[in-house]
């Protein structure tokens, strides 16, 4: 076993000329960047920056148009109360979208969880903790079903969750006979189902426990996504599943966990929505919660192609929608303008995402 030619002396004839070439290998150009490229690089490494700028801009625009009324801490915290449920669903949706999937059933999972919580407490007379646990069980089971179909049967997430959307929605109507549980009936048996509706004042600001729950949830998930191996694996799976698999990540398990946790978060959102609405209505299943959650995530800079974006962006995305709709409300505009602007925001957000992804060395 002889020593081959030392590598420092190229042995191939055609490589001889390399001696005269520059010796630094693949070094970095840190210079020669236009300001625009610098911005692109910054946004590439800080995905929540775009929605943040949009949020500040929309607050300023509506603030100037409406005046002091809009800047009151009452108005601003009212927006937070209004987006608590969608913000949580958006966080659940974010987990799934980061794996390059989509969860169209997230809204109806929330509704059926709420209905189960209400029925257990009111109709079956079970203690509140058991009613809540039953709701989480149903939410988690629905998420697990999605996860199993996506990770084991390897069906496309869009088709799986489109199917479970219909299945869960109809189950919800059949099970509940489309009967609304009135607020008074819930209050009569327990206070616990309304716990997230409890509000408290910080100065002039009025916050509910639901808002607190949303913020805690988002920051908890942010921590998990950025500072635990599970979070890094979720990004890797969404980015390039084949590479993730070869790196030794169990892709199926990560997908399963993402959909299941999304289901559990939907159940938490159900609890918060009971607090906000008071009553529990199975017909809420026809509301486009899914699309609102996807909207929050997309406006927040989560890439639909997976693996990119920060969950803080989703929170900001939900706030942008909240600020725009509140602002237009206060201006007395036709509510359809809110829908119009949301559409414009979605398309702009995806266009910006595409541009950022083109970043190159």
């Amino acid at each position: 076993m002889g020593e081959p030619n030392t590598a420092a002396q190229p042995s191939q004839e055609f490589e001889k000329v390399l001696v005269n070439s520059s010796t630094d290998v693949a070094s970095f150009d840190t210079h020669d960047k236009t300001p625009l490229q610098k911005i692109q690089h910054f946004l590439h490494s800080t995905p929540a920056a775009v929605p943040f700028v949009v949020l500040i801009a929309s607050i300023l625009v509506f603030g100037l148009a409406i005046g002091g009324r809009f800047f009151s801490s009452y108005t601003l915290t009212l927006i937070l109360q209004q987006i608590a449920v969608v913000g949580m669903l958006g966080a659940a949706q974010t987990l799934v979208i980061l794996t390059a999937g989509i969860d169209l059933s997230i809204g109806v999972i929330m509704v059926i969880s709420a209905v189960v919580m209400g029925n257990c407490a009111v109709s079956y007379g079970l203690p509140a903790p058991i009613a809540v646990a039953a709701g989480f069980l149903v939410g988690g089971a629905c998420g697990l079903l999605n996860g199993l179909l996506v990770s084991r049967l390897k069906l496309p997430p869009f088709i799986v969750t489109l199917g479970t959307w219909y299945v869960i929605m109809s189950t919800n109507f059949i099970y509940s006979e489309n009967a609304t549980i009135r607020e008074a009936d819930v209050t009569a048996v327990t206070q616990w189902l309304h716990v997230f509706g409890v509000n408290f004042k910080v100065g002039a600001a009025v916050l509910t426990l639901g808002v607190v729950a949303m913020v805690v949830l988002v920051f908890g998930l942010w921590y998990a996504l950025n500072h635990t191996a599970w979070g890094r694996h979720l990004y890797a799976v969404g980015d390039d599943p084949e590479a993730a698999k070869l790196s030794g990540i169990r892709v199926g398990k990560v997908l399963l966990s993402a959909y299941t946790i999304a289901g559990l978060i939907a159940a938490l959102a159900a609890w918060v929505s009971i607090g906000r609405n008071g009553s529990i209505s199975p017909s809420a299943a026809v509301t486009d919660y899914n699309l609102q959650a996807i909207t929050a995530a997309v406006i927040g800079g989560i890439s639909l192609f997976g693996g990119r974006g920060s969950i803080l962006g989703t929170l900001i995305g939900a706030m942008i929608v909240g600020v725009v709709s509140m602002g237009l409300n206060m201006l007395g505009a036709d509510p359809q303008w809110k829908v119009f602007l949301t559409g414009v925001l979605i398309i702009s957000a995806v266009a910006v995402d595409q541009w950022i992804r083109k970043v190159a060395a």
């Binding site: 693949a26 840190t30 500072h227 980015d239 390039d240 590479a243």
Partner: protein, 260 residues
């Protein structure tokens, strides 16, 4: 060769439906050597390498690492046994940082309560180690260890993948077409990296189509044909044309090489 082979495979069979990718293939790797594996497209090189690295499970046959039979069901298990693979597509996650990629699937957690209870990652330890490994291989032209891999050039990505394998591979490093996507200068650098890794005593399996590169660095050349090992030749005794003739079937393999 008086030494015992560190990694052997006997009678590997892998079928994909009606296609037989591996037809009772054998394989031997000796300590401290660079073994090149060559073969025509579809000869089953990749399937054999995947079987050895745990990416696919062979239908039949036996793999032994240091004399002990092993049955890898995932790349994770092969890695735990000390076999690292640099795949042709590199298996890097483009949006994650260099440090994240090097530790993908084997992250280090913080010691103490934070690591146990909250499973917090020890970022600084991972970054320090990643930086040390890259400098060791002379790759520290990469300035920011937290840079996303997709902002690196092809050669730099290859460097990160090789550094990852060299850092964690304790017994065998497998490289699948490491120079296929690279320019002349970058290929040269990667070949130096390969020799560097061998100098540290790690045996290397090199799969390549590039005959000049194979003949330059390999100690022995395993020629794969029609799903099995055709022969093993010494690059000093045969020319590149001979090797190509063997692997395409234009020439019968030498008798004595068959036994090797």
């Amino acid at each position: 060769m008086a030494q015992e082979p560190i990694l052997t495979a006997r009678g590997l069979v892998k079928r994909y439906g009606r296609v037989t990718a591996l037809d009772h293939a054998d394989f031997d790797l000796y300590p401290g050597e660079i073994l090149a594996v060559i073969g025509d497209n579809g000869a089953g090189k990749s399937s054999m390498i995947k079987a050895i690295s745990g990416a696919v499970t062979p239908d039949e046959g036996e793999i032994r690492l240091e004399g002990q039979p092993v049955h890898f069901r995932s790349p994770m298990e092969a890695r735990a046994a000390g076999i690292e693979t640099v795949y042709q597509n590199l298996a890097l996650s483009p949006a994650l940082s260099i440090a994240d990629n090097m530790f993908l699937g084997r992250e280090i957690r913080k010691p103490g309560l934070f690591g146990k209870l909250f499973r917090t990652l020890d970022r600084s330890a991972m970054e320090k180690m990643a930086r040390a490994k890259l400098s060791e291989l002379g790759l520290m032209t990469i300035q920011n260890i937290n840079q996303a891999v997709e902002t690196l050039s092809g050669g730099q990505r290859q460097g990160v993948a090789v550094a990852r394998a060299a850092a964690f591979g304790s017994k065998v490093v497998i490289m699948d077409e490491p120079t296929a996507a690279l320019g002349v200068k970058e290929s040269r650098r990667v070949l130096e990296l390969i020799l560097d890794v061998r100098r540290r005593g790690l045996p290397i399996v090199l799969i390549s189509h590039n005959m000049p590169h194979v003949f330059e660095v390999a100690d022995r050349i395993h020629i794969h044909r029609l799903g099995r090992r055709l022969c093993v030749i010494n690059p000093k005794e045969y020319t590149m044309s001979d090797a190509v003739a063997f692997m395409t079937g234009a020439k019968a393999p030498p008798g004595e090489a068959l036994a090797a």
